[in-house]
């Protein structure tokens, strides 16, 4: 994939990119309940101009909604029902563990750019945007943003997010997220998913009808092919998160084994997500953010 990104690592959004993003909106596969009136169709019948259905009048109904023309023809009272439109809650969850501070470009930078783009789309369409960052628990939040006005706040918040040393704990994070964000909505989880805990148990908290979850696994090219990252020879490998040490003598057989294991791990994450009803996609950081957002996320149905 061509590295055609116009975004520099220190830039989250450019005007051209924002212009392209204006045409997009966050979509949800589920019809989620909102809080205030917005631009999303709701399961509820409400006060929009779009006709939905008739139903028999019962005592106590609003007399203003009776279809008098129908009463004139049929001599029966019917109520006209209209579609309800509500806003959408979009939560973007950013992994800021130490393992994200790796790769060229860095996975965390790439994740911030992707979060900024998604947040921009959500805000421009008057969706309710919540931002979370996590390491072993949720470390940063920016909730309740709506409309174009909080865009600078979103960018500031993203710029503040730095990799935090220490191990991650996805299960605790997911549990905490479910407690913090009780509103139904779209949740986009951007992480490398290098978690030594039980992934299935972690994602269990986000499963269910309440959230429409998109899991985006970020991998750096150096992780896909370790030799690009200088992993050659007899090495003492140190885990960036928990300081775990593994001693390896790199050989063709070992690399082959590593690649097979990486593929198997990605497959494991994908299967775990699919089982829990989560959407999954993987992205390597050598692919331009614009391409991922404008093409792949649209294909996945997150944007449209």
């Amino acid at each position: 994939m061509a590295n055609s990104s116009t975004l520099q690592p220190d830039t989250l959004l450019t005007p051209e990119f924002m212009h392209q993003l204006d045409r997009l909106d966050v979509r949800s596969r589920k019809m989620l309940r909102g809080t205030v009136q917005g631009e999303r169709r709701s399961k509820k019948r409400g006060a929009s101009v779009e006709f939905a259905d008739y139903r028999n009048y019962v005592v106590g109904d609003d007399l203003r909604r009776i279809d008098w023309n129908l009463y004139a023809r049929l001599d029966k009272l019917f109520l006209r029902l209209f579609m309800e439109e509500e806003d959408l809650s979009v939560s973007l969850v950013l992994d800021s563990t130490a393992s994200m501070d790796y790769g060229e470009p860095r996975k965390l930078t790439y994740a911030k750019q992707m979060t900024a783009a998604l947040g921009y789309i959500a805000l421009t369409h008057y969706n309710r945007l919540n931002l979370y960052s996590f390491t072993d628990t949720v470390t940063g939040t920016a909730e309740g943003m709506r409309g174009r006005r909080p865009i600078p706040r979103m960018v500031d918040w993203l710029n503040q997010q730095q990799p935090v040393p220490g191990g991650g704990n996805l299960a605790a994070v997911c549990k905490r997220l479910a407690m913090l964000n009780q509103r139904p909505g779209v949740v986009v989880l951007i992480s490398d998913f290098f978690d030594k805990g039980d992934l299935a148990a972690a994602l269990r908290y986000l499963a269910g009808d309440r959230y429409d979850v998109y899991a985006i696994q970020l991998l750096s090219p150096q992780e896909v092919d370790p030799t690009k990252g200088g992993v050659v020879g007899d090495l003492k490998l140190t885990d960036l998160e928990d300081g775990d040490v593994a001693e390896v003598s790199i050989s063709a057989a070992l690399l082959k084994k590593y690649r097979a294991n990486l593929e198997a791990y990605c497959q494991h994450v994908r299967e775990t997500c699919t089982k829990r009803g989560l959407s999954y996609m993987t992205a390597t950081t050598d692919v331009a953010v614009e391409l991922v957002v404008l093409k792949y996320l649209r294909e996945r149905g997150l944007l449209g």
Binding site: G230, V232, D234, A253, K257
Partner: protein, 687 residues
């Protein structure tokens, strides 16, 4: 394999092996590098995380290869040697016995001794360093009744292997002399050559069951002899070693069939012996065979075993006596018949389980006695079973044409044997002859009067007990008065020897036997001795049957029957004067007819040989060939094979201390493995 410097190897191993293994325990100095997660690496190498200073030893191909390289080097350092059949630089003669006893199937792998011998020979050829041009190479000799150079000296292993593989089994006796005779010229050459490098080694692959014809010492000076013994000492075999059929003198239709069995097993054995007449079983008799004695006694007297000398003690088997039993069948048969004597023991050597005889029709010999008057002799001939005895004076005899003597004329039947009493005929008769005090006219075959100073009374010193004429003849008490001096041609055979020289001798001309006795029977006490009658019976049977068609009575047929032994040749009378005849049997035999007779090649395998056409009269249309050899049937291998006592200890069967160092093989092997180890290492480390 043994080592010249084993301690050097052990010490070096004690130093280097732990060092090499400890290198695998020690950890490498590794470059630290940070990765986002060790999760996948740990999965890839589960056992890399080691906190101890030593890591757990892993099943590492490289370690095994290096240990193997080290082991080879250490073995090379200990200077391994291999027992070499041949000193490096020597010429080698491989003599393979393919006699009947070598067909014994007693090898652990189920092979016969010959097959095992061939395998050993192939191994010898492989181990022989044939590459050097200075070496004379290897010669392969096979021997049974005769010896053959199957491959003369060569360095071409392919030819040598083909020659060894081409050696076929025979049922003949094994004789060592012909083989030594073939080898000795090369040994003499080697001895004459002062250069040590061209010495000759002779490896004899045999079970040691070989015949020695004479008492002469055999020596191979200048050659090193190694006897590679084949066979298992405990092998049991029941064999028929002698078989004959005789007709009663008074009642010729009564036939006595006689068989002697020997047994080499350590436990007594019972066997059922079946007699078949024309393929039909007519009698079965049980015979008890006592256990063979594994002692120091030599094999039966009738067949001395000069080639083998038992060892009093030791791991190798010593040759003891065999357990033997005799079985006799009596039956009435007038005409000719095929007799088969079979025992029912399933043993390691099948060729001696059956003896075959062609019973001749009842007939008695017609004998012409040429004498000036010897009633004693006439009665002796008559008593010996002759159908008719005619007496002629020397003058009458000279008047008869030789053909008339053989074939008869004018209504008179021909004679089978002519006995001359104190008369030497002018011409050689066309039938077998027995002469007392005279000889037939054969070059170098004369009887001269006794020397004046010779003692008046002489005894018989020795005689050939195994010759058919002298069988059961004992001459111990016989005194002779002034026996004549008998001269015998080079191809003649002396049957009895007295103080003044040969007393009884035999020459063969045109397939006929002519026996001369150097004294007048009336001038001896022999006619009063029972052995004279035995001699006359033997002589008339042997000579008469010989006249009937060149039957070799040494075949042990017993007079009334015809059979041959392997290793013999047969001359058969043919009705046509020229042409060829053929026999179908275990081996195809064919011969050219010359003058109404055909000489068949030597019999190799036992069995019946049936003539192709109808120009062969009975009994020669079917030839019975047997082994009938006590020495070959005694399949216990001889512990030693002594070739000539005069040759000294160097000729003994001792396994030589010749050793060849083989450390270069190990060094080369280590080098090869080192290359493999390097390739494996580079393959692994290539990213």
């Amino acid at each position: 394999m043994s080592f010249l410097a084993p301690w050097a190897g052990v010490i070096a191993a004690a130093l280097t092996v732990p060092l090499l293994v400890s290198l695998y325990f020690l950890k490498l100095r590794r470059k630290p590098i940070a990765v986002p997660s060790t999760l996948l690496w740990r999965k890839s190498i589960q056992d890399l995380q080691v906190n101890a200073p030593f890591q757990r030893i892993r099943n590492n191909l490289l370690l095994w290869l290096q240990l193997l390289v080290l082991a080879l080097l250490l073995i090379a350092m200990a200077r391994p040697t291999q027992r070499a059949a041949v000193e490096p630089g020597q010429r080698l003669v491989i003599a393979i016995d393919h006699s009947a006893s070598m067909n014994t199937r007693d090898a652990a792998s189920g092979q016969t001794r010959l097959e095992e011998a061939k395998e050993r020979a192939l191994a010898l050829i492989d181990s022989f360093e044939t590459g050097k041009a200075s070496e004379g190479g290897v010669m392969v000799v096979s021997f049974a009744e005769r010896a053959t150079v199957v491959q003369s000296f060569t360095n071409d292993r392919r030819q040598l292997r083909a020659a060894v593989r081409g050696i076929a089994a025979t049922d003949q006796r094994g004789r060592i002399e012909p083989a030594l005779g073939l080898i000795s010229p090369h040994a003499a050459t080697a001895a004459a050559d002062d250069d040590d490098r061209t010495g000759l080694s002779v490896v004899i692959l045999s079970d040691g069951r070989v015949h020695r014809d004479g008492g002469d010492d055999l020596a191979l000076s200048g050659a090193t002899l190694v006897f590679e013994r084949l066979g298992t000492p405990a092998t049991a075999n029941v064999g028929i070693v002698s078989a004959s059929a005789r007709r009663d003198y008074e009642n010729p239709e009564r036939v006595a069939v006689f068989a002697r069995l020997t047994h080499t097993g350590a436990a007594a054995q019972a066997a059922n012996v079946t007699l078949r007449v024309d393929g039909r079983a007519v009698r079965t008799k049980a015979v008890e065979l006592p256990a063979a004695a594994p002692g120091n006694s030599v094999s039966p007297e009738s067949t001395p075993v000069p080639g083998t000398v038992p060892v009093p003690s030791g791991a190798a088997a010593s040759v003891g006596s065999v357990g033997d039993g005799v079985v006799t069948f009596n039956l009435d048969l007038t005409g000719g018949a095929t007799l088969e004597i079979t025992h029912d023991r399933d043993d390691a050597l099948p060729v001696d389980n059956t003896a075959r005889l062609q019973l001749l029709p009842a007939q008695q010999l017609r004998v012409l006695l040429v004498t000036a008057g010897n009633r004693y002799l006439r009665e002796a001939i008559r008593a010996a079973g002759a159908r008719s005895v005619e007496v002629a004076t020397p003058a009458q005899f000279e008047g008869m044409p030789p053909e008339a003597v053989r074939d008869g004329d004018g209504g008179r039947a021909g004679f089978d044997v002519v006995v001359f009493d104190r008369y030497s005929p002018a011409g050689l008769p066309l039938v077998g002859t027995l002469s007392f005090g005279g000889t037939v006219p054969v070059e170098g075959f004369t009887v001269r009067p006794s020397a004046d100073d010779a003692p008046e009374r002489q005894a018989v010193l020795t005689w050939q007990r195994d010759h058919p004429l002298m069988r059961y003849v004992v001459l111990d008490d016989v005194l002779l008065r002034r026996p004549g001096r008998l001269t015998v041609p080079a191809d003649g055979r002396v049957l009895a020897v007295g103080l003044a020289g040969p007393l009884v001798a035999e020459v063969r001309r045109d397939g006929l036997r002519h026996v001369a006795v150097s004294f007048d029977v009336l001038e001896s006490r022999w006619p009063h001795h029972w052995s004279f009658q035995v001699f006359m019976v033997n002589a008339l049977e042997t000579l008469g049957l010989g006249a009937a068609g060149g039957v070799d009575a040494a075949s042990g047929g017993g007079g009334a029957s015809l059979s041959y032994q392997t290793g013999q040749t047969a001359t058969v009378p043919v009705s046509s004067e020229t042409g060829t005849i053929g026999y179908d049997g275990p081996r195809r035999l064919s011969a050219t007819v010359r003058g109404g007779r055909a000489s068949l090649p030597m019999f190799e395998r036992v069995g019946f040989y049936d003539a192709d056409g109808d120009n062969l009269a009975s009994p020669f249309d079917r030839l019975a060939v047997n082994l009938l050899d006590p020495l070959e049937s005694d399949v216990r291998p001889a512990a030693r094979l002594e070739i000539g006592s005069s040759a000294g200890p160097s000729v003994a069967a001792a396994e030589g201390a010749r050793r060849r160092e083989v450390w270069p093989w190990f060094a080369w092997g280590a080098l090869g493995l080192l290359v493999v180890e390097w390739v494996v290492y580079t393959q692994r480390m290539r990213v």
